[in-house]
């Protein structure tokens, strides 16, 4: 089964790397530049999991998670936070916003895949 992934990150490099890591593993990757764009993209797709950065323009990761969770159909969609920060407060904050899990940048492709499979099947 192909998993549909939405990756939200303001860094093109990071989006490229996520794509590079996930495409060969059979994921179908959609990308967005920031939270606002992410919500727009989300409108047209039914992702099995969402990966999001925290620091982004217009709408940051917390706001994005909040907005996604606010949509009834995405109350249980797995959301992984991709962050450079490993600080416990940040994880707690992400979790409070409704994040399913987190991955610390720079990420290892196999770990990312594993984490996605862990939350989305």
């Amino acid at each position: 089964m192909t998993l549909e992934i939405l990756a939200v990150d303001d860094s093109r490099t990071m989006r490229d790397m996520i794509r590079l890591a996930l495409l060969p593993a059979g994921f179908n990757v959609h990308t967005a530049d920031d939270g606002v764009h992410g919500i727009e993209v989300l409108d047209g797709i039914e992702p099995d999991a969402i990966i999001t950065d925290i620091n982004m323009p217009r709408m940051d990761g917390f706001g994005f998670i909040d907005a996604v969770r606010g949509q009834d159909k995405h109350r249980a969609t797995p959301i992984l936070v991709l962050t450079t920060e490993a600080a416990p407060e940040l994880k707690a904050r992400a979790r409070n916003a409704g994040a399913t899990g987190w991955i610390v940048k720079p990420f290892d492709p196999s770990k990312l895949i594993k984490a996605l499979q862990m939350v989305a099947g």
Binding site: H37, P57, P88
Partner: protein, 758 residues
Amino acid sequence: MNDSNDPMAEIRASFFIECEELLEALQDGLQSLDDGDVDSETINVVFRAVHSIKGGAGAFGLEALVRFAHRFETVLDEVRSDRMTPDAEALKIFFQCADHLSDLVRVSRDDAPLPEGTTAALLALLGGLLGDDHIEEDEAEDENIEFQPATLSLDLDLGGDPLPGDLPAIQNLDEPLPSDVAGYKITFRPDNELFETGNEPFHMLRALDEMGECSVTCHLEKLPDFNALAPEQSYLSWTIELKTAVDEDEITAAFEFVEGLCELVIVKLGNQVEPSSLPQQLEETPVSLHEEPGESELNAIINPPQMVENSIANVEQETAIEITVPKDVGTPPPPAVTSGKNVTAPKQAASTTAPKSVVRVDLDRIERLVNLVGELVINQAMLSQSLESSGLSPHSDAMNGLEEFQRLTRDIQDSVMMIRAQPVKSLFQRMSRIIREASAAVGKDVRLHTDGEGTEVDKTVIERLADPLTHMIRNAVDHGLESPEERTAAGKPEQGRVNLSAAHRSGRVIIEVSDDGGGINRPKVLQIAIDKGLVPEDASLSDTEIDNLLFLPGFSTATVVSDLSGRGVGMDVVRTSIQALGGRITISSTPGEGTTFSISLPLTLAVLDGMVVQVADETLVLPLNVVIETLTLSNNDVEMVRPGAHVVRVRSGFVPLFDLGKELGYREPVRDYEGCVVLLIAHEDDSHAALIIDSIQDQRQVVIKGLDDSFYRAPGIAAATILGDGQIALILDTSDIISNAIGNTGNQPSQNLTGASA
């Protein structure tokens, strides 16, 4: 181009392009802050720029870059969270850090050695901003961001930082991996929050199932009557017996994301763990994993146990249970590059991101396109020339078609040139750095003001402008602006001001560097020129002529000038580079108020609107923009001011007259001026001259073919072109020709010719 087969190298390359954009945003943001616009979004932009550079740098193992960006980011975070005000002093450091960050990006990209010393000094400055208590914290964090070289290492952070409310007091027993299959009993009871974060027990159970032989028991006794079911409650729990060869770390890893959101006990069997000591004695209702409903609907009806901590504490006291939480993931992840290379993602996949519909194209391909269009223009010219000479009616289909062809060619050419055009902004940002460094070096407070950053110019023009502009900016700071004391004495603000502006004007770009300094000290400049024998002692020169002396090569070594009055250091070099771009540079200065250098450049180096003329059987091209008028002479119009120096009457004024054929050495000078064709030439400095030619052939666009540096650079010749008939024609540098002619004859181009340019 080899890199294009390696997606990782491609991403790396695009990372550095992204860095350029981020650095630009960083500079802009800092500039806004410096201008007093302390908007929270501006601070966020600045923070994010550094943050994103750090993130990407981490992915490529650029340790020095990560380390520096990290400290910079930490300080910016203080600003972002209102714990620090970005005052002038802090901003000065931020600007330096931004400069240094851009240096680090560059050396990382080029694999060049790192500039030592600066990093340490700036880190110390940043540390100073942070204050003592933060430094330790930050340094502790620095440990976290250390990477093994060339690995994409930072892993999934499995329990390295336990969340508050995590399993308490965990023992980490360094027990070797069981060599054979071991048994575990896992008790797992999700809290309500586990579902609120989108986690799903089914995936965890399945992950366990994949580790070995698994039997799962689901405890349903907490499940209330259907009518009493609260959909958001957690009612179920599971006991899993797992026979596996994997170690406990991996089992714990399966529950990483739900740490603190569930009750989890992992017991290694064979340690005489009494089932009775487990938190809850539940009536066991075996459910096979694959029959387990596992869907959110069912999971959402699960009951939360409230005694997590107690029960775990009990477990610990009463039994010696080994619960190990890994400090690190056991197996080192593969190196980034290797994993990238092994991935065979379709090539376009990595580059189809482009939500802004921007295509990145190799410059070589554009060069090729520009060249081809150049050929097309030449070919079009050939075709029109041969069609015109064939005597076809101007209303014939062929001629109409030709007209359309010409229009299309021109449009294509313009569009191709547009591809290479880019705003001068990046260049201007580099100049703001030069200002900062130069003003710091000479101890002056200088503010740069820029205008027209969005003005687009051909990429190659921008690149080649960097050096001359740097030179001029340094001059403006060093020599143009007075010392703070002098400024105060002159009633000016202590802070000097340098303006840098760009604008399009009639098909050219005008770049101006001006300062509000003391202006050119003309008596001093003239005296020095006389002392150096560059002008005769009795010379009476106009102000503009004196200013132009600064461009004479003799002045470049005249340190006296730079110490005393102002301009001159290396300005001849500046002028040469501007001329090499097909541009002109002029000075205007008002004593006490400042000096302005104005550069006029073609928008592109590839084509030129030219006037094709004939001189003594030679076909020559003059840039059309210097020609303001064509005249036919009569002997009455010409006056001799002294032997060999003639002027021509143009309406109410006189303009020096030069014979192009003679100046280029093609023929003897014209004796009889009756019926001579003359081009009236105006340069950016408003000087005028008249050039005698034999005939005008055409007015058309020509493709500039640069003359190779290995040729002798003939004075007055700027470049060459290929004409429609395949003939090669030289493109003239009229200003060069005229200044050479002045050298030969002493004839001076006239200034501010009245009426001639009307």
